[in-house]
Amino acid sequence: MQVKLLAFAQARDQLGWPERMVDCEPGETPRAILARVLPGARLETWRVAVDEEYHSWDGPIGNAREIALIPPVSGG
């Protein structure tokens, strides 16, 4: 299946693009998917959202349509 991968702020800077469709399986985790897309990415300070809900880096994505990489937020 294909999932839309969104990158914001520092994540977009590191990846070099704001969004991209990636091939993945329902049993894959965001960590595994990102390791394919951006090998060596340091994820300590980033969070990940699956279909607009915060999600574990190590939880399977299921039938997700969207994965968003969320660097530390700073609204206001």
Binding site: A9, E52, P71, V73, S74, G75
Partner: protein, 199 residues
């Protein structure tokens, strides 16, 4: 609770207050302005971006949760996106409730929760430009600096010379219409001021 959440790429226009009932006794408004100085270096402004649909969804949830703890009648939330020059507002929040305590607590907690969990980012362009210059000279650095916990943003209802302080408007709209007033407070630490006000 009535919730109005808006993201805009144009300067924030503060909507006139609409009272959902005659039982509204407090109207608390807050604006966050972009400040000029960061560690002695001047910024021209900040660039804001958001995962807008996710931000909206999480703000709605946060407001519902806070309303259960601090019952309020309405909240108006406006966040600016794109380029915001120094001195202009990046955020406007208005909370209406019967009594000031609930509205002040709701506002303080809402801003804290937004800064912790809502996918909105600011990028300091002045710092980015400096870093690009440094990188051209051979030093390391990212292309842009995204500010994690808002050290660049002050809060004020009025632009002050030089560094701006923070301000919060507390309006007491007397339900018996026998009088009303407002208080302006300034501080660089918004939450501290709000909590002091509640106490």
């Amino acid at each position: 609770m009535e919730k109005q959440i808006t993201f805009t790429h144009t300067p924030i226009v503060i909507p006139p207050p609409v009272l959902p009932s005659r039982e509204i006794g407090a109207c608390v408004e807050f604006q966050g302005l972009v400040r000029e100085l960061e560690q002695g270096a001047a910024l021209a402004g900040l660039h804001y971006e958001a995962h807008e649909s996710m931000a909206r969804k999480h703000l709605e949830r946060i407001f519902d949760q806070l309303c259960a703890a601090h019952p309020c009648a309405a909240v108006v939330f406006i966040h600016r996106l794109g380029w915001v020059p120094v001195g202009e507002a990046s955020l406007f929040v208005r909370v209406l409730s019967s009594h000031r305590g609930e509205a002040l607590r709701f506002l303080a907690d809402a801003i804290d929760r937004m800064k912790a969990d809502v996918p909105i980012w600011k990028c300091a362009k002045g710092v980015a430009a400096k870093r690009r210059k440094r990188r051209k000279k051979g030093s390391r650095g990212m292309g842009t600096l995204f500010v994690p916990f808002a050290p660049f943003c002050g809060y004020s209802l009025f632009q002050l010379p030089g560094r701006s302080a923070g301000a919060l408007t507390l309006r007491k709209s007397d339900r018996s219409s026998s009088g009303s007033g407002s208080t302006i407070m300034r501080s660089r630490s918004t939450a501290r001021w709000m909590r002091r006000c509640i106490e």
